[in-house]
């Protein structure tokens, strides 16, 4: 029995193999990027099962459209954009981008240095997941992905003003919850013993 273990030295060879439709190349791409893309999906789609559905659809889209990849940017960035697009399409289907919630007044900003040291990625991902879908999407697109309000407006179909307002509300919510976390942790007796 012939033993063939494909081993793609570079990203371009992997892309060529994907363009030929090799199943093993698809497997390699999935194993290489699945976890990172899953985090992106979870940032947009808070539900784990929905995020996995979005992930599957996104990879299927990648494998279908790999012939459109022109090698002008990185292959990972191309996949990431597809993940974001698919997440937005999922949210648009569910019409959850226009939800708004009432905000409490934020009295003071949290200690960002403490938050940077104490909060891990999972904690921050949980805070993002607690945001409303509209706020979360605008915050992800603007703060993490780096889109402008104009791009966000074109991607989501909302106006730039709505994007700006939702971004402000998303920031306020996150600052408020980080401050709550900070207060809770610092008021705990274990924190005083550990700090001393």
């Amino acid at each position: 029995m012939a033993l063939s273990i494909p081993y793609y030295l570079s990203e371009s060879q992997l892309v060529v193999a994907l363009q030929r439709g090799e199943a093993r190349a698809q497997k390699i791409v999935y194993e290489r990027y699945a976890n990172r893309m899953m985090a992106i999906c979870l940032r947009y789609v808070a539900n784990q099962a929905d995020a996995e559905d979005v992930l599957i659809e996104s990879f299927m889209r990648v494998f279908e459209r790999v012939n459109q990849f022109r090698s002008e940017g990185s292959f990972e960035g191309w996949i990431r954009r597809i993940m974001v697009t698919e997440s937005l399409m999922f949210l648009r289907k569910n019409k959850s981008l226009r939800q708004e919630i009432s905000l409490e007044s934020v009295t003071e900003e949290p200690d960002y240095q403490w938050a940077d040291e104490a909060l891990q990625a999972n904690d921050l991902l949980r805070l993002v997941a607690q945001l409303p879908d509209g706020y979360r999407t605008i915050f992800n697109l603007y703060a993490i992905e780096g889109y402008s309000h104009a791009e966000i407006a074109s991607l989501t179909g909302i106006s730039e003003g709505t994007s700006k307002s939702q971004l402000s509300r998303a920031r306020a919510l996150l600052q408020q919850r980080i401050k709550t976390l900070e207060t809770d942790v610092k008021s705990a007796p274990e924190y005083g013993k550990a700090a001393s």
Partner: protein, 286 residues
């Protein structure tokens, strides 16, 4: 709108974040894609490891069964080679018995040799001793019948003189008791014994009373008849020969007897002949 610290915090922490996925997610994706699921990759490495380990185990077992380990070999060898005290005692007793038997046989050989040499044998003649009771270790050995040269030493010569002095009645001198080199039973290199180099020879002769004709005839049967034609004529020749013998290696000592010149000449001539024969035999011995 500028970025705020909260934006940087989330961007820094979440841009390259990872989240675990379900193990069957890829198969679900393949089912949705309508493609055949990829065959489960055979764990070739594991099978190869198992096969290699099995082969190595078989090889080790084969080597163990065919060749015992070195330690076990050494132990078995030590157990075989280390004799017990009883074995040592048995070997020592056996060797002692053999030595005692050899000593007894050597003594017997000495006695036989002495018996043979006591018979009328001339010095220097080869003595053939047979040892029928001896069984040499080497079957090809010829130890049962071996010839030994008689070594004439100074002590033997002195012993001859003493015997001659004691046996004045007989004209034929008794054969000296010779000490021969004892033949080795198991050592072949002692078959031929080199005689010691004679640095000084002294022969003591005793001239007895004149013998009768019968006695002379009896003595001539045992000894070779002297060559009378080569005898020196006259006193001058006789004294010259005696002087030559004296200067050489033989010194004659005659008993003072009041005889006539002719009788003295005959006696001296016979002495000369005997001395000459003795010297000739010694020369052949050397």
């Amino acid at each position: 709108m500028e970025k705020q610290p909260v934006d940087d915090l989330f961007a820094r922490k979440l841009h390259d974040a990872e989240a675990p996925v379900s193990s069957d997610l890829f198969n679900r994706m393949q089912q949705r894609m309508g493609t055949k699921p990829l065959p489960v990759r055979r764990k070739i490495g594991a099978w190869w490891y198992v096969a290699s380990a099995a082969c190595a185990l078989v090889a080790v077992c084969f080597l163990y069964l065919t060749n015992k380990p070195e330690k076990q070999l050494l132990e078995s060898f030590a157990q075989k080679r280390l004799p017990e005290q009883s074995d040592v005692n048995r070997v020592v007793t056996k060797r002692r018995d053999r030595f005692n038997g050899s000593a007894t046989r050597l003594q017997t050989i000495d006695e036989e040799t002495e018996k043979v040499t006591k018979e009328h044998r001339k010095p220097g003649q080869l003595a053939k001793a047979t040892y029928p009771d001896l069984k040499p270790t080497n079957p090809k050995s010829q130890l049962s019948a071996r010839e030994h040269r008689l070594v004439l030493t100074q002590q033997v010569e002195e012993q001859i003189a003493v015997i001659k002095a004691n046996e004045n009645e007989k004209s034929v001198p008794a054969a000296p008791q010779l000490a021969i080199s004892q033949p080795g039973i198991e050592r072949v290199e002692q078959a031929t014994v080199k005689p010691k180099q004679i640095t000084e020879r002294t022969i003591l002769l005793t001239i007895n009373e004149p013998q009768t004709k019968n006695e002379l005839a009896a003595s001539n049967n045992n000894y070779q008849k002297p060559d009378t034609q080569n005898q020196p004529n006259g006193l001058s020749g006789l004294f010259g020969k005696l002087k030559q013998l004296k200067n050489g290696e033989v010194m004659a000592k005659a008993t003072p007897v009041s005889e006539s010149n002719s009788t003295q000449k005959k006696r001296l001539g016979r002495v000369f002949t005997e001395v000459k024969e003795s010297l000739k035999n010694e020369t052949t011995l050397e």
